[in-house]
Symmetry: C2
Subunit: 612 residues, 2 copies
């Protein structure tokens, strides 16, 4: 990826938060006012808070420069924390990120739909439906294989940047010339308004605004995707991202304050929409701003659809998630990862009624926990490895870790009752499950391990000592059955004459409720000269599985030797049309299910393809 495409691919998540960051600060500050006239005072705090958050962003971007240099093959929080702090911090960071990806989808899509409903308020009552629809379309697109291509991303990201910078420039011109269009603040009461402007409330506003830092990690995850020199290019993109986003955020908050914008208590119209209306009117430029915002937010959500399976694959390789997730390129792993992500995001959108404000408390806390762990890990790394200039790096990372740690605590405390508690409860639960999975794999691995000595001394691993009985259940004397018999005979090296003394014994078995039918089959069998024994099992109660299992039990009692291995060989008909499967494979499936838990019993399917 070039820097231009890299910016579009990895920065969209972060830059898109400019669509709601200013508004979320204002939505908290506005609670410190009674009635419309008293609004101005607390809202003027928006600008200082924005400055504080942009300063935070500068610290985080600087701190991540060290990570990018140290981890040129990709340094997400899970990797950095596991590497330097140990298993538990790594898993906490990992679970925070998994939650974060789900929330990125829910928040970005909700904000994207809010940009649409701002332009078309008539759609507002359908926002949950629209958001769910958008997630479903995104999911189907990803399942069908639309991956993030640089070009596809580049267009919306740069359209957004041009549209927004144009809007801000024109807004600053209007401010300088005092020619803002007339603005009427939206009416209505804020739920919970009339509070005192306490430090707690200000910190809560700061917490809400710090959602602006989400998505910062994307660049350090994706370093290997850049053109060489990868780390250098990634570092430049990260700085560009911070600069662009910081400028938009500051400009937005400044203009909103100057115009005197008040967030809409009904949540129908966004602050960005109000700002655009007051600067450029509701002409084509307004719609350009709204649509490009929606598009960018949808693409921001899309990054999670790539990041979630990637993280799951890394964690699965380490044994903390089911192993099949590690085959990231595999349909099953990708599909199940995407499916889980989409289902949870839809669940959140429905529960929180597609409201960004309601989702924010859950979003921010996990992100800052991951930041703190990742940067603490970098501090530890510098101390341990002492790379060149380690004192500088360590100081930068220590500042970053402290700052983000403080914010994590501030967010956790001020947003606790508003929803952060859910994440703080969920994270240890996820960690517990991850550890349980790892423990299981560890036990399994220990149990399965072989030392060089026992390799050929254990009788069950020694081919010289294993004997075989092959059971072929069959419904009729037909090609599929004969193919299965021939398969068994040739595989075991038995040809013309069955060799009862040999290593493998082959027995064909027919289950019937009508002994006359069975006898007729046996006669045909003998007449045809098939050189394998046919056993007829009578089943007066018209069952198939239980007589076979009883027969296997009897065989085992005859040969209680642990070195006898039973193979049940099922001739399977595979029809030409999928719906015909229902007519053929049910009994085979049933037998396989019944045999699954039988020790030392292998099951072989020998397919016979029907052409018609």
């Amino acid at each position: 990826l070039t820097k231009i495409k890299g910016l579009a691919v990895f920065a969209s998540d972060n830059i898109s938060s400019s669509a709601y960051a200013t508004e979320e600060i204002m939505r908290v500050l506005v609670l410190a006012s009674v009635g419309a006239l008293a609004l101005t005072m607390p809202l003027t705090l928006t600008m200082p808070l924005t400055l504080a958050i942009v300063a935070m962003l500068a610290i985080v971007v600087t701190s991540y420069q060290q990570t990018i240099r140290a981890y040129p093959s990709g340094g997400g929080s899970y990797i950095v924390a596991s590497d330097n702090l140990g298993v538990l911090p790594g898993l906490i960071a990992g679970s925070a990120l998994l939650i974060d990806y789900v929330l990125t989808v829910a928040v970005s899509i909700s904000a994207g739909i809010a940009a649409i409903t701002s332009a078309f308020p008539v759609l507002y009552p359908e926002r949950v439906l629209l958001a769910v629809g958008a997630i479903v379309i995104l999911t189907l697109g990803n399942l069908r294989g639309i991956r993030e291509s640089g070009t596809m991303f580049a267009a919306p990201c740069y359209i957004y940047l041009f549209a927004i910078f144009g809007l801000l420039a024109f807004g600053l011109f209007r401010w300088a010339t005092g020619t803002f269009l007339p603005y009427t603040p939206p009416e209505g009461e804020f739920h919970g308004a009339g509070q005192a402007l306490t430090l707690f409330l200000i910190l809560r506003a700061f917490s809400s605004g710090s959602v602006a830092l989400t998505g910062t990690e994307a660049v350090s995850n994706g370093i290997p995707a850049f053109k060489p020199p990868e780390s250098r290019n990634a570092g430049i993109v990260l700085i560009l991202m911070g600069t662009f986003f910081g400028s938009i955020f500051l400009g937005m908050s400044f203009l909103a304050n100057q115009i005197g914008i008040v967030p809409d208590p009904t949540e129908v119209e966004t602050v960005v929409s109000q700002l655009a209306r007051t600067v450029v009117g509701t002409g084509w430029y307004y719609y350009l701003v709204q649509f490009s915002t929606t598009l960018l937010l949808i693409l921001a959500a899309n990054t999670s659809f790539a990041d979630f399976p990637r993280l799951a694959s890394i964690m699965a390789k380490d044994g903390y998630l089911p192993r099949h997730f590690s085959f990231r390129g595999e349909r099953l792993a990708f599909t199940s990862g995407i499916g889980v992500l989409a289902a949870l995001a839809i669940f959140l959108v429905i529960i929180f009624q597609g409201s960004v404000t309601n989702l924010i408390p859950l979003y921010t806390v996990g992100v800052f926990v991951a930041f703190t762990l990742s940067q603490s890990g970098m501090v530890r790394r510098s101390w341990r490895l002492r790379p060149p200039r380690w004192r500088v790096s360590m100081t930068i990372n220590a500042i970053g870790a402290t700052a983000t740690g403080v914010v994590a605590v501030v967010v956790g405390v001020t947003k606790f009752a508003l929803g952060a508690w859910m994440v703080l409860v969920l994270m240890p639960m996820i960690v517990f499950v991850l550890l349980g999975i790892r423990r299981h794999y560890g036990r399994a691995q220990r149990e399965l391990a072989v030392s060089d000595e026992e390799m050929f001394t254990r009788p069950d691993l020694n081919p010289e000592q294993l004997h075989h009985v092959i059971i072929i259940p069959l419904a009729d004397l037909n090609r599929a059955a004969l193919r299965a018999v021939a398969y068994a005979q040739s595989l075991t090296g038995q040809s013309a004459h069955p060799d009862e003394e040999g290593r493998a014994r082959i027995v064909a078995v027919h289950v019937t409720d009508d002994i006359h039918d069975g006898e007729a089959l046996k006669e045909r069998w003998v007449r045809a000269g098939v050189e394998v024994d046919l056993v007829i099992l009578e089943s007066p109660y018209r069952t198939l599985v239980s007589p076979l299992l009883r027969y296997l039990d009897a065989l085992e009692r005859q040969q209680p030797d642990a070195t006898v291995h039973v193979t049940v060989l099922l001739p399977e008909y595979l029809p030409a049309h999928w719906w015909e499967h229902l007519l053929h494979t049910q009994t085979a499936l049933q037998l396989k299910g019944a045999l699954l838990f039988r020790p030392r019993t292998a099951v072989t399917s020998v397919p016979y393809h029907l052409r018609d």
Copy 2:
């Protein structure tokens, strides 16, 4: 079964229709009246119609005596029609019966709940929920293995008979002495009232009442269950059933007319309940009548849970339903049959709001189609085989066939718009599917058939000419993998040294995205002295299945000989706890799915059971 138990088991379905037959006649007749005062005139027709239906019943019972003699091993309509009239009439009868069983459940349960809500009108709004609950309980009971036991059936059936005959006797005494309790007809308008008393309406009333003949076939299905002489005992039970039911039906209609009972327009209270109230008051005897009615109706519904799988098994043996249904004693077949029956019955109860009156038009038409076909089959049989007294039998069956045929047409015409059309549309659709299934099996059987000559001349059936390649995909060098290798070596008779020139070649395959890991595994493999080749497949896109499939393709291109058979041998870990399955079997499942449609590729699962 003795006659006493046989009556209880096989007659409950028919006798239980006395709970609604009188009412259904009246509900049609009442439409020919305007206002409450004009009610009496049309309702007096109830008694003549009842007499006509009881005469029909006598004809059918007499006609079925011939069937019972001719088919001592069970003569349901499907068997009799297939046997004597050919495939298509047999399938029409079969599909009519399958629909009939579903409707027996829906109607009997709805009527049973109506008997409850008559006694406790407060439950009326919950009738659909109650009916669905009853079907669910019945289904679970049947799935858990509660089959019809004679004793369990005998009690409710005889309690009902005693309760009802007591009620009728006391009712006749009250009629003779003119001491009926005071009766007020229920108020309200009948939907569609004020029609002229046309012949069409009278025929419609007759059609509704002819629901009284449902369940008559049960005895002839169950002949083998009787004590010897089976046919004789079954014949006696059939006559007893007709006599009991006929007396109850006549007595009920007579008393209802004498009291002047009018059906409840709101459907809250049944006619039987009104009658019982007017004869014995609302004391304990009233509740005895209501509860025993409900119990009998639930047991009548239960007979379908035995009859449906039985018919499905007979039809599956003939190839008209998926083969696994023929293993009637098998859990899967029984479960899926019961499941389909219950789901359809619940669907009907919900759609028709648990109203017997709404369901009746669907119920009767299928039953009479089956009657007509069965008795026409008997006529044909007498003509063909000319057994002793064949002229008498043939005449009786011809009368039966004509009478039921006329009723089938009458029901079809008078109830067409009320719902009979659904059944008349559904029946040919079911027949079409049944024929499609049979055609598929026929094609498959022809394709699979082997003549004696080709038995050993076809190369793919000749063990002498088959060669094998065994592929063992493995994730690690551990016990499960070594067990699989030892399994393959011993099964093919290869022991100490791999024999490249032999009949079977064994190759272990490891898929990795990290070539260094792969090389390390290979080194360990060689050092350990495993005498089977290990192939490392690199998968840069982190997929598992596609590199393996490509490898199999390459193998096949190397050996384009049709006599080479590939076996993919999967070492499968079977964990001790079910939830741990998710951690192990996903990749194996995925591979199996991908290999399912590959010709000449067998799949073997070699289980390794984890103890912990």
